[in-house]
Symmetry: C2
Subunit: 421 residues, 2 copies
Amino acid sequence: MSLNDTPRGERWHIAVFGRRNAGKSSVINALGGQETSIVSPVSGTTTDPVYQPMELLPVGPVVLIDTAGLDDFGDLGQLRIHKTLRILNKADLALLVVDAACGAGEFEQELLRTIAAREIPVIVILNKMDLLAAAQGDQEGTRSEAARVEALLGRKPIPVSAAAGHGINELKTAIATALPRGEDRFRIVGDLLSPGDLAVLVVPIDKAAPKGRLILPQQQTIRDIMECDAVAVVTKEQELGHTLASLRRKPKLVITDSQAFLKAQADTPKDVPLTSFSILFARYKGDLPRLVRGVRAISGLRDGDRVLIAEACTHHRQSDDIATVKIPRWLREKTGRRLQIEHASGSEFPPGLEQYSLIIHCGACILNRRAMLHRMEEAANAGVPIVNYGVFIAYVQGIFPRAIEMFPSAMLAWEDEPGFG
Amino acid sequence: MSLNDTPRGERWHIAVFGRRNAGKSSVINALGGQETSIVSPVSGTTTDPVYQPMELLPVGPVVLIDTAGLDDFGDLGQLRIHKTLRILNKADLALLVVDAACGAGEFEQELLRTIAAREIPVIVILNKMDLLAAAQGDQEGTRSEAARVEALLGRKPIPVSAAAGHGINELKTAIATALPRGEDRFRIVGDLLSPGDLAVLVVPIDKAAPKGRLILPQQQTIRDIMECDAVAVVTKEQELGHTLASLRRKPKLVITDSQAFLKAQADTPKDVPLTSFSILFARYKGDLPRLVRGVRAISGLRDGDRVLIAEACTHHRQSDDIATVKIPRWLREKTGRRLQIEHASGSEFPPGLEQYSLIIHCGACILNRRAMLHRMEEAANAGVPIVNYGVFIAYVQGIFPRAIEMFPSAMLAWEDEPGFG
């Protein structure tokens, strides 16, 4: 169940690079073939990367991204190189596959420099070690090839034979080591809590909630609270006052669904920090101060300004109503301006970003934090303020500034002059 | 998301009966085609029922079961009749589709008697009303046909045209009315709580838990607590003592994962009821006193006795290790006997049930309560005690009798002489 249940944005993104025929797909299959199960890959054209979600022990849910093989930066079409390298915008880890029989060269050096410039951890894999050993008839040559690659690339390669399954466990361990540890990982709320703290969650149960279950952000928040040894007190909004009175200690914070914010605000003592799931998830997925500055830009909009509503998915959109009806209406109500509202969806912003006065971005459930930060950076480079649905809706519902008071840098952004992010 | 997330055992089961060509599949498609989304049906052979999960508003997640058409009890093979009628073992509601142009007869009368004997609510649907109206050229004939069917079957039929989409909203309302209401529904824990009560949940976070999420029974329990306006206090086992000390009021009960039972027992005051998720779910899905009697039968097992380990699914078994390794080992350790342990899986018990001395049944996540109760009844008819994994494991982990003390009828069963259920 967990395989299909984990949204892509919650998986580690591991991008696999290498020359054609270096064995990128074989490495991916070898990683997927043992203790893990493989979901059919999303098929792509030859030049499009293929996303392979899997449960990779001991790491957990990941998505391996099989990029198009690049032989030489000079030889190939710029489009293909561009498509391959832009995977780095979302990669948490890069694997560079080198064919042991062919060795490494300037191509691999250049690729490593590009990856290092993005501050992405990388693992060099020396694949097809079995073929090399067979060709050379001894182990000596394979050891010296590993040493040559290490000298050239400045990193100790992991020797594997994807076809024979050798070295795959060592590779898994290296992957687990290279990914950010639990304590380094960006958290939903765990960084705000100490062991034993009480966190009160206000969870309205309405007809939209799935029968007999909790929605994902509520689950993720409870789980994050458990992982830092704190206590989650879960209540409906009507019971909040009664619940707070039942606690012997003051809770560290109250987190409410945005739709219950006004009731939660009325019942939560002023000295208890109060925020919303949507604010926490905006922070978890992006740069909260920048999103708050995006909200501030709304009041500066003028007649004729162009606003881009951008969604990360192109298919199965469930939020047409939000993007095409509700947000435009709220914008009109808040600003009183005649705005030109445009829509875009997909993994890239449309060209000409600088012509917009504001970008309103979806919640980015299919993007990881790194990809969302990259998009925010693109907006900043074009000089366009950006806000996401969660922060925008929180603003429209009138829950600013209390919902961000616990985040000093977001409060500074709120108190700034309206302007660009 | 909720469509694929809802396990089949948590959906209302609605069985659709009728003669061949009465339009059973069209009725199902019409129900699925409007506000709902349809998942591809599980394909079956002509005589096997087809399960169509869908989100049926205003009811929620259901599975519609398209049975093979039966024209006449006498005309058809007994196997086909048997296969169709045994769907009644799990149906929460039956729909009987009558072709308005052909009318109803003894066949429908007989079917209704069979359904009524099982105390299953039923809705009679008069389909193809548009064809009847077109043939007769007026509305008069259609009204009198409905009256004729009502007189014959003793139930007011709902006139629909599945092909034209007429009457489908009325049918949905009738379905929502006929299914047990929220307050009549069997609950996980909500029947034990009053509004404002505190329920403490002890949730170990181990490596087996899905990354960043809660497992389904924990989610379902929290949701059920919310639905009765109580408060869920969620904590890891190490924090339980501290958490209880943080509450100003005594919790109504503590629910723990079985693996943390001994720690929870040590930290929970004697006057606070303590049970486990597995006991609550055994009660939710079946007859707890009978399962407790099944546990009691373990001590009466003798050398050479045959024990059946029965699982409801035939594919994607994730619990081979439980069924084939752990449970046999625990049985050996508890009894010291040489037992003949056999395995069965699928929707039917194997023939010759009476030769077994004990049945150990899986947690039945794909079965609804009605289906599980039916299987327990079959075991009782064969004179064989039955226990499920949850109660069996709770027993093996030494958490009896405290985990069932809050259920008087289960305690009576525990204090009974060991014997048959």
